[in-house]
């Protein structure tokens, strides 16, 4: 008995609600589904908070927070040693993720009561939300890597379903398809990684894999492929899985398109929870990365660093507010990956790990807030584009203030939570690699700039001609905004370094003024430039854009990555592989089979001439045949 058995309920409640609403939701009034879903999620939220409190503040031993497995049942036995189990694993990061997921999910449930009101398929929406929550919770609670993979796939599907919620809109359908296939492709990497890992270690269980004194890697050293050790391959492949879900470059293309889904979905899945699954995966496997495959960790760091810069640059040029936020998410995820990549193991060395988790936490809060705020704006204006907005601060005070808080948080203005987490990431990067630090430092400035570009464009500037006067959103929508704003402000004061660390042992952190001060400064510089350019309607941004010409255009078109992918899939896979395969099958292989038939038919047509009806020919054949027989007998006997 560990006292944590009730945690099983945390994922099971959403599952039950998914099944009930999914099967019966059509028959009820829509509101019933909504309220049921929200209530269920609320329960999960409460349970998670209780779990977190009792786990983190229930004391811990010398060795730090030890993992607790309250439940673990065998789901499928593959070989003698490889069993897929379904269970609940509580350790610092999973408990933290529980809180993140249930909080954001609960907020989104409440928010959607207002946002989705009157939509067709309201019940369906709640069913899918519950399905997603279930899968995501299952993912973070996974006791073994295969369970994680299972829920990983489920998360992908729920994301697919939710992005394609407006299934009558072709663009939404295309986006959902894209999201699923791109992540599926990454999952293939994950799967192969798991296969290699399980082949080497003979186990799926995290408690064996992530044990620093792990003995399961005994045979790993001798194995390799193309000059790279098998473990590095495995971990890089697993990272590809994570990169797919977390939309790391170059698998990032699905995330901006995923904004076709309803905004609460974007907030929940594509900002706060699902996209951090990749980060969570790397964090979960961190000891393996660190001890067995440091090269793979280096890959993680650079991919993260590059993605953060790349996405930040694109975010500057976008006009669709959800896309700006999407690229901002990409950039922030890059931050987290980078932090993991530069981290060491244990104590101060593990600062990056801690910082990554910390940033994950704070980012979930403020990015969900940003998205929900954006949803509120879109709800009011009925447009996604900045140039349709302006001067909204007068009409939507609550949205305005919460959005401002979120922007300040992401820009890293102290003492808001974003400041703390970002600061620690920068410290970790500085200690590890100066180039990566430089990139991140630049990105911090860019982040502040594009967020405030957005902010000023939407809430300041001059009024547009709205179809009807924008109004503040209903209470169901503004309460989550306020809650998340509060969380964003105060989350920074959580003593993360004492709770979530790489080796589960607490350590002390301190402010590094050498880093903190410049980073705040560059944030402020970014905000200043944004103020300069966008506070008032002006021609300057356009002029600057014109000056950069091609560069601007490339950035605006996201460096044509969509086009490249489209080229690869449409042209190469469809036209140059699939079509010839189909043709080959129909004409060559099937042609061969049909050919056998035809040859038989033609031959029979030929030799049927022998059946001429001419009696004498038959007689001749008969006699000649007899003679041949006789002769052969004579010859052979």
């Amino acid at each position: 008995m560990t006292g944590f058995e009730y945690t099983i309920l945390i994922p099971l409640i959403p599952l039950a609600i998914f099944l009930i609403t999914g099967l019966l939701g059509m028959k009820w009034k829509p509101a019933v589904s909504g309220i049921l879903g929200t209530a269920g999620m609320g329960t999960s939220f409460l349970l998670s908070v209780i779990t977190a409190i009792s786990y983190f503040f229930g004391g811990h031993g010398e060795a730090g927070f030890s993992p607790i497995i309250p439940a673990n049942i065998t789901w499928l036995k593959l070989t003698e040693t490889l069993h897929i189990k379904m269970g609940v694993l509580l350790d610092p990061i999973s408990v933290m993720m529980l809180v993140v997921i249930t909080t954001v999910s609960f907020m989104v449930h409440i928010y959607s009561l207002g946002y989705m009101k009157g939509e067709k398929g309201f019940a369906r929406f709640y069913a899918f939300l519950s399905l997603f929550s279930f899968s995501m919770l299952g993912l973070v609670l996974a006791t073994n890597i295969f369970q994680m993979y299972i829920f990983w796939e489920l998360v992908g599907v729920s994301s697919f379903l939710l992005i394609g919620f407006y299934y009558e809109k072709p663009s939404a359908v295309a986006a959902s398809k894209k999201a699923f296939i791109v992540t599926r492709f990454a999952d293939l990497g994950f799967l192969i990684g798991i296969l290699i890992l399980s082949f080497i270690t003979g186990t799926f269980d995290f408690d064996q894999l992530t044990n620093p004194q792990a003995s399961v890697f005994g045979g790993a050293a001798s194995l390799g492929f193309m000059g790279i050790s098998a473990m590095t391959w495995a971990m890089v492949l697993i990272f590809i899985g994570g990169a797919g879900k977390s939309a790391m470059f170059p698998l990032h293309i699905w995330l901006p398109d995923a904004m076709e889904g309803p905004t609460p979905v974007s907030a929940l899945i594509h900002a706060a929870t699902m996209v951090v699954a990749g980060v969570f995966l790397v964090a979960r496997m961190f000891p393996v990365f660190h001890f067995q495959a440091p090269d793979a960790l280096e890959v993680v760091a650079w991919v993260g660093g590059f993605t953060s810069l790349f996405a930040a640059v694109i975010a500057i040029t976008q006009f669709d507010i959800k896309r700006v936020l999407a690229f901002s998410t990409l950039s922030q995820l890059g931050y987290m990956m980078l932090a993991l990549g530069v981290s060491g193991y244990g104590g101060e060395e593990g600062l990056g790990y801690m910082a990554s988790m910390f940033h994950l936490f704070t980012h979930a809060m403020f990015k969900a807030l940003l998205f929900l705020g954006a949803g509120s704006i879109i709800h009011a204006v009925h447009s996604n584009y900045m140039y349709d907005m302006g001067g909204l601060r007068k009409y939507m005070p609550i949205t305005h203030i919460t959005f401002l808080i979120a922007c300040l948080t992401i820009a890293g203005v102290p003492p808001l939570s974003g400041f703390f987490s970002k600061d620690e990431i920068l410290v970790a990067a500085f200690n590890h690699n100066k180039i990566l630090f430089g990139i991140e430092y630049l990105v911090a400035g860019l982040t502040a700039f594009y967020m405030f570009r957005l902010y000023f464009n939407v809430f300041w500037g001059k009024d547009r001609h709205y179809h009807h006067t924008p109004h503040e959103s209903p209470l169901t929508m503004s309460i989550p905004l306020m809650f998340l704003a509060v969380a964003s402000v105060f989350a920074g004061f959580l003593p993360f370094s004492e709770l979530v660390t790489s080796d589960a042992k607490p350590f002390e952190t301190e402010m590094h003024l050498m880093i903190a001060v410049p980073s705040v400064l560059i944030g402020l510089v970014g905000i200043f430039f944004a103020w300069l350019l966008y506070k008032k309607e002006s021609r300057v941004p356009d002029a600057i854009a014109a000056k950069f010409g091609i560069l601007y255009k490339a950035t605006y078109n996201k460096f044509y990555f969509d086009e490249i992918y489209l080229f690869v899939t449409k042209k190469i896979i469809f036209n140059y592989i699939s079509r010839p395969v189909a043709w080959f099958d129909r004409h060559i292989i099937d042609g061969f089979m049909v050919g056998i038939g035809l040859v038989t038919e033609k031959t029979s047509y030929l030799i049927k001439g022998m059946q001429s009806g001419q009696l004498q020919h038959y007689a001749f054949a008969f006699v000649a045949g007899t003679l041949a027989l006789v002769l052969s007998i004579l010859y052979f006997l």
Binding site: V157, E168, L195, I573, I589
Partner: protein, 501 residues
């Protein structure tokens, strides 16, 4: 009477019952009753089997019985089942049950239709319970031949040509198979003594290796043709495209499994040395099958063609996994057979139902069906998800078992082909989502489609049965997997003795 014989007797009685009915209503009711009894029997059999195993019965085959019916060739009616056969019987019962309801509205010569259908089912059940190679072959032929009539008479499109092609190719397979089986028979007593057709007895002796080398390809390809082994799969698209709904269901769902089942139960189990020697050839062929089928499916426009190619890919995986010759992979292969059987039957049932409404199977002519016929569309999506391996549905369990099992192989070649085969899950996702996106989602393309009606009760019954089965295996696979693994032990033991790795 032996419970296994009931599986042959009940369909035969049903056929007799149908002969006494007057119109199509009577025929379908009788068929439904007969096949419901069969389903209940199958469920009872599974429970009894699990019970017997739990009680500690360790015989390789349960409920064996043996009657000689053709003395001079020593042919017996020898029956008995292990966990694998039980699972396959369960699969067959479910698919046939669903098939009857999916063809509830066949009015043209419906008595003859149901008789042929049930005759086919009889053959399949008989095949799975047989332990005597000749009797097995007999049932196999019994299952293949009604197919010709079913496609030729009740099919659509170029049905005569397709039926001819399908039957001829399968008969070609039978011919090869017969050579192989006779080879087995005449080598079944290398040290003198009486020849036998009995699988278990042949398994006890060692067939001379030269004979194995000669007869293994015959037997394996013979069964492989039915299991859509590349490059002998081309009957599948045409045959499926022309076949009526229930026949496609049974054919892809069950009949193709006879091929896979025969491959390991007869070819590999009885000729292990040759199997080990030649496995690499067939592994390459099936790897091609898996990837190639998936790519082939992307380009198709006809729903049934897509599914036929997808079957090629999935059934390729079955034989692929069988050839890996370790317990996990073979377990995966059988799970994949069951899973594919259920979900492809579901697919074909749905395609039939959609075709019955829209009168087209061309995916470019449909769109937005989710709005019009939500029930069918949702079930179609579930089937699609099962096909692309979504956890919680059977496809995932099967595929993962296959991949993990195959990857445990010590040989690099096997691991590399596993990775290649695994890449098919992405391609599968592409074509499934393409279809789902085109026909179910998006705006309604054809205004006539707005007036379509959703599933009727029998269609719901048919599809829900299959969905529940798919989900049941997907959510709780352990009992099935255990049952299969236990039964695989003697087979794997025999195979691995000769395994060079």
């Amino acid at each position: 009477m032996n419970i296994l014989s009931l599986f042959v007797v009940v369909p035969v009685l049903t056929i007799v019952g149908i002969l006494f009915t007057k119109d199509f209503k009577g025929a379908r009711v009788v068929s439904a009753i007969g096949m419901s009894i069969q389903l209940v029997l199958a469920a009872a059999l599974i429970l009894m089997y699990l019970g017997a195993r739990k009680a500690g019965v360790t015989d390789e085959m349960l409920w064996t019985a043996d009657y000689t019916w053709f003395k001079s060739l020593n042919i017996h009616y020898a029956i008995g089942v292990d966990g694998i056969a039980v699972a396959m019987i369960g699969l067959t019962a479910i698919v046939v049950f669903a098939g009857i309801f999916a063809s509830w509205e066949v009015e043209y010569l419906s008595r003859e239709f149901f008789i042929s259908l049930i005759l086919l089912a009889t053959g399949v059940f008989g095949f799975f319970i047989s332990l005597d190679l000749f009797t097995m072959f007999l049932f196999y032929e019994l299952a293949v031949i009604p197919m010709y009539l079913l496609i030729g008479v009740w099919g659509s499109g170029p049905k005569e040509a397709s039926a001819m092609k399908l039957t001829l190719m399968l008969m070609g397979g039978s011919a090869l198979l017969m050579v192989g089986l006779f080879g087995l028979y005449y080598n079944s007593a290398p040290d003198g003594g009486s020849l036998t057709w009995n699988i278990l007895e042949i398994a006890k002796i060692k067939i001379p290796v030269e004979a194995q080398r000669f007869f293994f390809p015959f037997t394996f390809i013979g069964f492989g043709i039915l299991g859509a082994l590349f490059p002998f799969h081309t009957w599948s698209p045409d045959g499926h495209a022309s076949a009526p709904t229930a026949v496609s269901m049974l054919h892809a769902g069950v009949l193709m499994k006879l091929g896979g089942y025969g491959c390991f139960r007869v070819a590999m189990f009885l000729m292990p040395e040759a199997a080990n020697e030649m496995a690499w050839i067939f592994i390459i062929l099936t790897t091609i099958s898996v990837v190639y089928g998936a790519f082939g499916a992307i380009w198709q426009k006809d729903l049934k063609f897509i599914n036929a190619y997808s079957s090629v890919s999935h059934c390729g995986l079955v034989i692929f996994a069988l050839l890996m010759m370790n317990q996990t992979a073979m377990d995966g292969a059988i799970l994949q057979m069951i899973s594919h059987g259920l979900m492809t039957a579901l697919f074909f049932a749905l395609i039939g139902m959609i075709y019955g409404r829209t009168h087209t199977r061309n995916i470019t002519e449909m769109g937005g069906l989710m709005k019009v016929i939500p029930f069918l569309a949702v079930v179609y999506m579930i089937a699609g998800f099962a096909s692309l391996g979504l956890p919680g549905l059977s496809g995932f369990v099967a595929e993962m078992t296959v991949f993990v099992g195959s990857f445990q192989h010590q040989d690099t070649f096997h691991r590399v082909v596993t990775i290649i085969a695994a890449s098919s899950i992405v391609i599968t996702a592409v074509y499934i989502l393409r279809v789902v996106g085109m026909i179910l989602l998006g705006p309604v393309k054809d205004p006539h489609h707005l007036e379509l009606t959703d599933a009727k009760w029998f269609e719901r019954l048919s599809t829900i049965t299959l969905v529940l089965s798919v989900a049941a295996i997907g959510i709780a696979p352990l009992w099935l997997s255990d049952m299969i693994q236990a039964s695989l032990e003697p087979i794997v033991a025999k195979l691995t003795v000769f395994n060079p790795f």
